[in-house]
């Protein structure tokens, strides 16, 4: 068999240049800059700076508040990812069975996808508002004295709820199209072999959905880690106080509000390493178990 290739070795590089330039300008350069800044404590205006080596990192890792934020980030990310995927899968499987009015249901379920995170946060504020929020009134009627922005766990509850609500539609779309791509013949064969709907789901549908699920797992973890920023910012109204926040929001609070460039650079480097490790882990360990058709 003839090996396909480029006659001129420079051509592929030339074709890659635009993409590489974009990555270099928008990722490698800022990343290198962040790594460099993380070894300094510098005046925000750029007049003075002191090389402090790894002190910024040591300060963070020795700070119990930072570790608390990191702990919250883990719990928050797991909850948001699990709930967004679980609910979306449930809705997709159920919507897939609906025949009459299927389009209407699907459109209604997908609608929220168009809402931007800060807007979702704002809707969350309206729903959970201390004095006028309908959900606050509902919880209080159940005897739960819900107070957004006052009680740590209540604010965390609102953050998870709004983030999940915002993410379910996009997962729903993917799961639904994933379900559509399962061949009818396979489903029919399964129907003969197994009468239990849940049995068929776990033995046949779920493994066949795995490639979609894996893709969504990665995007959802990224969403919960990074894209929920807008939701968190709006729900705490820019003033975290005693409320929970995730690591990305902490970078913003210390760097952009507090003007601590060295400390927040060190935080972003830590995040970068975490994401790198997470990605390697996902592709090394999880993806191996997935069969692409």
């Amino acid at each position: 068999m003839k090996r396909a290739g480029f006659a001129n070795p420079w051509l592929p590089i030339l074709l890659l240049v635009p993409q590489l330039t974009i990555i270099a300008v928008f990722f490698y350069w800022p990343a290198a800059h962040a790594i460099q800044s993380s070894f300094f404590l510098q005046d925000p205006f750029g007049f003075g700076s002191t090389f402090v080596g790894l002190e910024n990192y040591a300060d963070l890792l020795g700070n119990k508040e930072y570790l608390k934020v990191a702990g919250f980030t883990v719990v928050f990310t797991l909850l948001v990812t699990f709930l967004s995927l679980g609910l979306a899968l449930l809705l997709a499987v159920k919507a897939d069975n609906v025949i009459r009015g299927a389009k209407t249901y699907r459109t209604l379920l997908m609608w929220v996808y168009a809402v931007a995170p800060p807007v979702a946060g704002f809707i969350g504020i309206l729903m959970f508002d201390q004095s006028t929020g309908p959900l606050t009134a509902f919880f209080q009627s159940l005897g739960w004295d819900f107070k957004l922005g006052v009680v740590y766990s209540d604010t965390a509850f609102a953050m998870v709820t709004v983030s999940v609500w915002k993410q379910v539609p996009v997962n729903f779309i993917f799961f639904l199209s994933g379900l559509h791509s399962i061949p009818v013949a396979v489903r029919e064969a399964a129907l003969i072999d197994n009468r239990s709907a849940s049995g068929r789901f776990w033995d046949v549908t779920f493994p066949l959905l795995a490639p979609t699920g894996f893709f969504l797992l990665i995007t959802n973890i990224t969403y919960a880690l990074f894209d929920t920023f807008g939701v968190i910012d709006t729900l705490v109204k820019g003033e975290p106080g005693n409320n929970p926040m995730n690591l990305v929001y902490k970078v913003y609070v210390d760097g952009f509000r507090g003007n601590d460039l060295g400390g927040s650079s060190a935080q972003s480097v830590i995040l970068m390493v975490l994401v790198l490790a997470l990605t390697v882990f996902q592709f090394r360990l999880v993806e191996r178990r997935i069969h692409y058709t």
Partner: protein, 432 residues
């Protein structure tokens, strides 16, 4: 060439090119909503008052966002001529030698008369350096005062409390009895920390509150303020005080709705309250603890100052100086004071407001300036601490925990002290 074309070209040129060059300057500010409209009005009035200079105000978001935008722009060489910086961020700008042209020098170099004694006592040195030279021009200056719902106090048969002892034993129980939540406040670091230290004339940080040399130790872990926070916890438990979270508005809303009888807010909230509430309200000075001091002092100004950013041409600096002259004139100050409730920063503007009968019509509007004109003490000039925005974040976090029972007053203040001192040490290294 046709004569028409020549005429048309001339006409167009005549319309577009100004008769002489105007010097244009920019002003980045953080005044949203109605305040922003008043800022625009001041700029428009300045532009209309003369033909040589044109100022363009640009809204940059919250105080923190405006400061960050200004810093980023400075590093890129794109800084505005004037940057509005809030109280907690002032140390960052003043600490960065060379970021701003001291306003006192700017005015002197451009032949604008300046006498620091023209300014009311409370605002003179807050944005000044250790030698008393004014670095930032005080702009929207406010101070925390106590607003009260007159109907509520009448119903309870009490008057506004002068001391916290009076609040605790007389005012609050009566208001509770009358069906009100007696009190809320909107900014624990500002009202119950910084101004607690000023009102009681307590040292807030070493090195003369950070004026003589960069502060290395915060004195926040003081028995008097710890007793105050313990009282807040007890009052909250007893239904005499309520805390609605860190957000400013969340604590103001229940007062505006008439659920809360007294609210500690900013003297600059006056204009907004007037537009919003439908009950008669007035204001009184911030209460103090008789147990701590028999002679309560003036409070700090809050709000923000205008800094003339360095690296601008002489003509533009001249324009900035002229604008400051316009801004500090008695008429402009009185206009700003009337519209917003922020205090007038000069004695002349204060006198103008008195003469005009402003305080006969709105007695509450005078409380802020009266409080700022109280006798000064050793520690009432101001405070200067690096990374103070983060220190405030730490305070907000610990105070929230104290008030929700997550931590004790003792542990909370120990945490604030330790973390704040660490931040001060870190800030010292940024200047190296």
């Amino acid at each position: 060439m046709k004569i028409n074309t020549v005429l048309a070209t001339a006409a167009v040129l005549g319309l577009t090119a100004p008769a002489f060059a105007e010097t244009e300057i920019t002003w980045w500010h953080a005044m949203g909503g109605a305040l922003g409209e008043t800022v625009e009005q001041i700029a428009t009035d300045f532009n209309a008052s003369q033909d040589d200079y044109k100022i363009t105000p640009i809204f940059k978001g919250t105080y923190e966002e405006a400061l960050t935008a200004g810093i980023a722009a400075f590093r890129a060489g794109e800084q505005p001529n004037i940057l509005q910086v809030f109280d907690a961020g002032a140390a960052t700008v003043i600490g960065a030698k060379g970021a701003a042209v001291p306003v006192q020098d700017l005015l002197a170099n451009n032949d604008v008369a300046f006498d620091i004694n023209d300014y009311i006592a409370g605002v003179r040195y807050f944005y000044a350096d250790k030698d008393g030279k004014m670095i930032g021009m005080p702009f929207n200056s406010s101070t925390p005062i106590m607003y009260f719902n007159e109907d509520a106090l009448a119903k309870a048969g009490v008057t506004a409390p002068v001391t916290w002892e009076e609040f605790q034993t007389v005012t609050a129980p009566a208001l509770k009895e009358a069906g009100y939540i007696p009190m809320s406040q909107s900014h624990l670091p500002w009202i119950f920390t910084e101004n607690f230290f000023s009102r009681h004339n307590l040292e807030f940080a070493n090195n003369n509150n950070g004026y003589d040399a960069p502060a290395t130790e915060i004195k926040v872990n003081h028995p008097a303020i710890k007793a105050h926070f313990q009282a807040l916890v007890d009052w909250k438990e007893a239904g005499l005080f309520e805390w609605y979270g860190t957000g400013w508005g969340d604590n103001a809303t229940p007062f505006e709705n008439g659920e809360v009888a007294m609210w500690l807010g900013s003297s600059g909230s006056f204009g907004g309250l007037q537009a919003k509430v439908d009950f008669p309200f007035s204001a009184a000075k911030l209460p103090y603890w008789e147990a701590v001091t028999a002679e309560p002092k003036q409070t700090f100004i809050g709000g923000a100052a205008l800094f003339a950013m360095a690296g601008k041409s002489a003509e533009e600096n001249k324009a900035t100086a002229e604008f400051f002259k316009f801004l500090t004139s008695a008429d402009t100050q009185y206009f700003w004071h009337q519209k917003t409730g922020y205090v007038p920063i000069t004695e002349a503007a204060y006198e103008l407001a008195q003469k005009d009968g402003h305080y006969d019509r709105f007695p509450a509007a005078e409380v802020g300036i009266q409080q700022l004109s109280l006798p000064a003490g050793e520690f009432t000039k101001g405070y200067r601490m690096g990374f103070y925005v983060q220190i405030r974040d730490v305070m907000n976090r610990e105070y929230g925990r104290i008030l929700t029972g997550e931590t004790t007053v003792e542990d909370g203040f120990a945490n604030i002290e330790a973390e704040a001192n660490k931040l001060l040490a870190r800030f010292a290294k940024t200047q190296g």
